[in-house]
């Protein structure tokens, strides 16, 4: 498969990704040293438990390799298994992730990077599962409950990037045609055609035949016949309540290179749906993270999750970068 760089946003740069990994490792230590010394307008070093979102003129929404990310200090987030609600994942597949954040006047963006030797972006077969990552955002007063999908008082805004959705954006929605192109089919009623194997989900929409694709008929985003975004925005008020929002304005892009995913996830600062987190410049949020490994059969509760919540701090002033290019 090919998960490629978004062609609209510059040339991919492998060296940047690997350089950031090195810096990320160092910054974890630097962050610990800088504990408490991180005033609002001070250097952009994260304090313990902090992720500093650096102000930038325009966030690279679909460019995980943008040099702009060098301005954002990385925070290493340790992951653990999920053992709160079955199905569990006892041991994490991914030990840790690196997180950076940038924001501009309108959007906040997070760059999540983790090791994954094999990209998995096919969810057609019964045993096909995707790689994915999610950023969970809640109001600053939210505590550890954020990691458990929030509560009525502190709902969670979930931004989930999905490798298969990105594949859909790049190459068209993947269906049974991709897995079993040589299958035998007489007809796909009620569509009348001499070439049933040429039928796509979009044809059901044109033919006003969506009841034959029930997920599509009821508007489930997983069943969309075409796709332009690979990040889904959802709201949750506790376990099992995750619901896709009416407004889908989250965005992002992933890049798999050298056995590592680098994924940008963005959302507008302003909330557009009930329960959604509204962020302000100089404001902050509570956040947590999750990563799914398709090769390991991860889906739903089978995921690696951050061991704690973090404070995402939006720095208005652009302090001196500790990582000059």
């Amino acid at each position: 498969m090919s998960i490629t760089h978004d062609p609209t946003s510059g040339t991919p740069d492998r060296t940047l990704v690997s350089r950031r990994r090195l810096l990320g490792a160092g910054a974890a230590g630097a962050g610990a040293v800088a504990l408490g010394a991180c005033a609002d307008d001070g250097p952009n070093l994260p304090a313990e438990g902090e992720i500093v979102s650096v102000r930038t003129p325009s966030v690279p929404r679909r460019d995980p390799a943008s040099p702009l990310w060098d301005d954002a200090p990385p925070t290493v987030v340790v992951l653990e298994g999920q053992i709160t609600a079955p199905p569990y994942r006892r041991e994490p597949v991914v030990a840790d992730i690196s997180v950076r954040s940038l924001h501009d006047r309108d959007d906040v963006a997070l760059l999540v990077e983790w090791d994954d030797p094999r990209p998995d972006a096919a969810t057609v077969a019964n045993d096909g599962f995707r790689d994915a990552c999610a950023v969970l955002l809640g109001d600053p007063a939210a505590g550890e409950e954020l990691r458990f999908m929030g509560t009525q008082q502190h709902p969670v805004t979930l931004l989930q990037w999905k490798a298969d959705w990105q594949h859909d954006v790049e190459h068209g929605v993947r269906t049974i045609d991709d897995e079993y192109p040589d299958r035998s089919v007489d007809a796909y009623p009620p569509i009348v055609t001499d070439d049933p194997l040429g039928i796509t989900p979009a044809d059901y929409v044109t033919a006003d035949a969506t009841p034959w694709l029930p997920g599509l008929h009821v508007g489930n985003l997983l069943s969309a016949p075409t796709r332009t975004r690979c990040v889904e925005k959802m709201i949750a008020y506790g376990f099992g309540t995750t619901t896709t929002t009416d407004t889908q304005d989250a965005d992002g892009w992933g890049r798999h290179d050298g056995g590592r995913w680098a994924v940008v996830v963005t959302k507008p600062l302003a909330a557009h749906d009930a329960g959604e987190l509204h962020l302000r410049p100089r404001g902050s949020a509570t956040c947590a993270f999750a990563v799914w490994s398709g090769a390991d059969g991860d889906a739903g509760g089978r995921k690696s999750v951050s061991t704690r919540t973090y404070r995402l701090v939006l720095r208005e002033a652009h302090g001196p970068s500790p990582f000059p290019s």
Binding site: P87, Y88, Y204, V218, L222, T242
Partner: protein, 379 residues
């Protein structure tokens, strides 16, 4: 974990949710002795519900040949193997259910079949229980070679493993009739239900990427009409209606009568613990009691004896109840027997059928004087 009553096991068992029974439970009885394996039910369901893109491999209704047939491949053998040897003590199940035997990280013990396991829906079709040799063979009674057809749909279980395993609560059991459905909007394609259902009757749509399953033709049920696969049954092996718990069983409810009163209809693999609501009259010519007990529980031999006695003319009421099977498109929830006639009534009390329990033997003269023709036997 809650402690719930499973009457099919004659004991309480562990389940994730409390015991909440629907106002009434949709159920069916399949007479395996009458099934001819024609697959008309399979096609009726296929053309009604699963002819869409991504549903190619799905057979919400399938008919497999036992002992060797299975769809998906070896589904029951695998489920039984996972569970390991278990025991009944009389009518009480002393083994573990798939909920009680669940590994720590899951709610139910199960496995997820791969695509290839669905690729041979007719594997083992018409294969007999023993290998045929070159030695001389003569027919004996009871047969020492046998096979039978096992038609299967979702069991709309009282304790569905699919529902229990779904962390998103995308699967629900309707309070009005106990039909188990997948909310197509909430499902996110995690496929834990697919792994949990031991009957492998919940499927993943390759194109819409969400789970789908038999809906018991609920739009028909809501109009008092029997499901598609039942209505199309050529062998008239299927009775559809509503089953009560044993303590509330009514003698005049055809399903209760077959399941609770005469006890000729038994659940499939009750030991899994789901309290499935499709009941089977076991095949009378299978001479292996252990095999029958494995499939239908400890009541199998008793059910066969009762059934055979009725066929020999000892039980008019049982014959009458069996005769109702798909004798009308309408769902009959009450029946009565007068003299040699059986009547089936709908929920509204309307008589849907009125027919003789035994078809009278009529001898006709070879000449029809009204039409002035000879009646010719063309066969």
């Amino acid at each position: 974990m809650a402690e719930v009553w499973n009457w099919q096991l004659n004991r309480t068992m562990q389940y994730h949710y409390d015991e909440v029974r629907p106002r009434r439970q949709a159920a069916a009885v399949f007479d395996t002795n009458k099934c001819i394996g024609c697959q008309t039910c399979t096609m009726a369901c296929k053309t009604t519900w699963t002819s869409g893109h991504g549903q190619e491999y799905m057979l919400w209704n399938n008919v497999e040949t036992k002992p060797w047939g299975s769809y998906p491949l070896a589904w029951d053998v695998k489920a039984l193997q996972l569970l390991g040897p278990q025991h009944w003590d009389g009518d009480t199940y002393t083994g573990d259910t798939i909920f009680e035997a669940a590994p720590e990280d899951k709610r139910a013990l199960g496995y997820a079949p791969s695509d290839i396991e669905f690729a041979y829906p007719n594997r083992g079709e018409d294969e007999v229980n023993v290998s045929i040799t070159r030695e001389k063979y003569h027919l004996k009674m009871p047969h020492d070679m046998w096979f039978f057809y096992l038609p299967r749909v979702c069991n709309h279980c009282t304790y569905p493993a699919c529902l229990e395993s779904c962390s998103r609560q995308s699967i629900y059991k309707r309070p009005e009739d106990g039909v188990v459905l997948v909310d197509q909007d909430r499902c996110r394609g995690y496929r834990v239900c697919y792994e949990a259902c031991p009957y492998k009757k919940i499927f993943y749509n390759h194109t819409t990427k969400v789970a789908e399953k038999c809906v018991f033709c609920y739009p028909a049920l809501e109009q008092g009409i029997q499901p598609r696969c039942m209505r199309s049954c050529i062998g008239k092996i299927r009775s559809f209606g509503y089953v009560s718990t044993p303590d509330e069983a009514r003698d005049d409810n055809p399903i209760d009568f077959l399941v609770h009163v005469r006890k000729v209809a038994l659940p499939l693999y009750p030991q899994f613990g789901l309290e499935p609501n499709v009941y089977y009259i076991p095949p009378i010519h299978v001479d292996s009691d252990p095999f029958l007990t494995m499939l239908f529980g400890p009541g199998a031999r008793r059910a066969i004896d009762t059934y055979v006695a009725a066929m020999e003319g000892d039980d008019r009421e049982l014959l009458a109840a069996l005769l109702l099977a798909v004798s009308s498109d309408r769902i009959m929830t009450r029946f009565s027997v007068d003299d040699d006639m059986v009547s089936g009534y709908t929920d509204d009390g309307e008589r849907a059928v009125h027919m003789p329990i035994r078809v009278p033997n009529v001898e006709r003269s070879p000449f029809d004087p009204d039409l002035n023709v000879y009646r010719l036997n063309t066969t």
